[in-house]
Amino acid sequence: MSKELSCQSSFSSNQLELSLAGTLNLYTLVTFQNEIEKYLVNLTTLHLNLDGLLSLDTASAIYINSLKQLCDDKKIDFLLTCKDEKLLKTLDTVHVMHLDLEMLVYKEPSFLYKLGENFVLRMKKFSEFLHFFGQISYGFFYLLKHLKSFRYKEVFFEINENAIKAFAIVAVTSFLVGVVTAYQSSVQLKIYGANIFIVDMLGISIFRELAPLLTAIVIAGRSGSSFTAQIGAMKITEELDAMHTMGFDPMRFLVLPRIIALMLMMPLLIFVSDIAGVLGGMLVAKLDLGISVSLFLDRLNEVVAAKHFFVGIAKGPFFAFLIASIGIFRGLMVRDDTQSIGTNTTKSVVESIFSVIVCDAVFSIIFTNLGI
């Protein structure tokens, strides 16, 4: 069967006769369309000869029918010759319908409308988050009352997934940041001959701020996103609904184990980050500033009070709570389409890093005022 369409036209005194041969389908239809449109302007008679046609699909049938309508509207005589019963039947069965194309055009709302809509949506999301926060608190107290229903297995699984497997990347990141900070400051310190102060600087900045923040950022990127994607996918496949109907409260099975696991392990992750960061700084101090390891440690012990270390560690559970709860909340916000997994995952990571930084700022104000 020929895949091509041949289109023979003879045009004289505003009368067009078109003979089609071959296959008329979605792909060859354009040739036919173009041929007709060349003459359509001042036509009085259009004669279509389909005798040579081998096959006709519904798309072409729709076009021929709408052409007929167009001719009727423009008072053009329309003649159709076709001997093939089958083709005629196809032409008969399709009917032209019109969809309102206007409805497909997206109308841009005004700036004020968008502003208001955005504000309302955000407020709604925030109140939903508060609701979720309430659910978590309720779940937590319920758990304390019914310790037997605590899902140890899930918690340990999450500890392994989200903390133990993250030790290496947290350590490497912190080590490199330790190296970079030390290296940059050593240049300045050397000018004043204040080499030894590298220890004070590194000790306080790493223990108090850098290690907790860095750990939180790595964990937000690693676990926060995975919580959102996992729970979002479970929502789309109706797994969450299935759990509900079977009496497996997702709060108890999915939400709390993740939050608890991360809150338990975050201090430990920060501790690892402390060690790695100081090691990085120590390496630069030795190579670049000629401060030996024993001197470095002596000085660290002398000038950096233990409170700095504990302040850093104490931030861990708070950061962990923010990351885990935002990640899970975003997962629960996923609606029934695949795109919303993507947007919610992005939002989850951005929002958790942002909230961790805000939380850190609040902490630093509180601690300064308390004199810690």
Binding site: N25, L26, Y27, L29, V30, Q33, S55, D57, T58, A59, I62, Y63, S66, K89, T90, T93, V94, H95, V96, M97, H98, L99, D100, L101, M103, L104, R335, D336, D337, T338, Q339
Partner: protein, 245 residues
């Protein structure tokens, strides 16, 4: 009659589990062919193998004159335009409206203008029994049955010669299911369509199928016209076809 699909000595294995141990059957042009069998016998797997979603271990499948175990990328792309596939859950693109779902293959593969495409889409929406205003809804806003109809409209978008249906009537109410059967018969007549379907719906099997293959215990236990299959002595066939309709 011209053979449109020919499956020869098809052998499928997942890890250590043998799913098919040598399937042989063919489907003629213009036929509605059923693949039947108990749950887990690999009906959907054969269908997935035929539409090149899954590889098989041995044997050959020839579709519309192409041997799909030895096919170039371009040939495969060309072949894919000649068939439509209806998945069990519809598998509509969730970020697009029904209109966009159905128009997508037309926009991608043809050079037709927007107005004609919208007319084609409207026609497809109409023949599968949806209403014009449904076109602007997203898949998450419609019921399971509507999703199925919309997915059929998408499968028919390019006027394929060959239609693969994976449990087309499952999840439809009985009235829509019968409508669907009639629709398939009508489409076959209209478009000279050949249909391959996996089905569990007895009524639909009796009403629509010309021939069928029953897969049981890794092989084809029966093949041919439905009337010939029903009378065969086979535990699955006996229990399956004895069920009250």
């Amino acid at each position: 009659m011209k053979k449109i699909i020919e499956v020869k000595d098809l052998y499928t294995q997942f890890d250590n589990k043998i799913v098919h141990a040598g399937l042989n059957f063919h489907i003629n042009e213009g036929e509605i062919y059923g693949i039947l069998g108990p749950s887990g016998c690999g009906k959907s797997t054969v269908l997935r193998e035929m539409v090149m979603l899954q590889e098989f271990k041995q044997g050959s499948i020839n579709i519309l004159g192409h041997d799909i175990s030895d096919i170039s990328y371009d040939e495969a792309q060309e072949l894919r335009k000649n068939w439509g596939v209806l998945f069990q859950g519809g598998a509509l693109f969730s970020s697009l409206t029904l209109y966009e779902n159905i128009a997508l293959p037309l926009l991608e593969y043809t050079k037709l203008d927007k107005n004609l495409i919208s007319e084609i889409v409207a026609y497809k929406i109409d023949i599968v029994g949806l209403k014009a205003q449904d076109a602007y809804l997203y898949p998450s806003q419609i019921s399971g049955g509507m999703k199925k109809k919309a997915a059929l409209a998408r499968a028919l978008a390019l006027d394929p010669k060959l239609l693969f249906l994976d449990e087309p009537t499952s999840g439809l109410d009985p009235i829509s299911a019968r409508e669907f059967d009639r629709l398939i018969l009508k489409l076959r007549e209209l478009l000279n369509l050949s249909v391959v379907m996996v089905s569990h719906d007895l009524k639909s099997i009796y009403d629509t199928l010309d021939r069928a293959a029953v897969i049981d215990n890794k092989i084809i236990t029966a093949e041919g016209k439905i009337e010939e299959i029903i009378v065969m002595e086979n535990p699955f066939i006996q229990t399956f076809f004895k069920a009250e309709i």
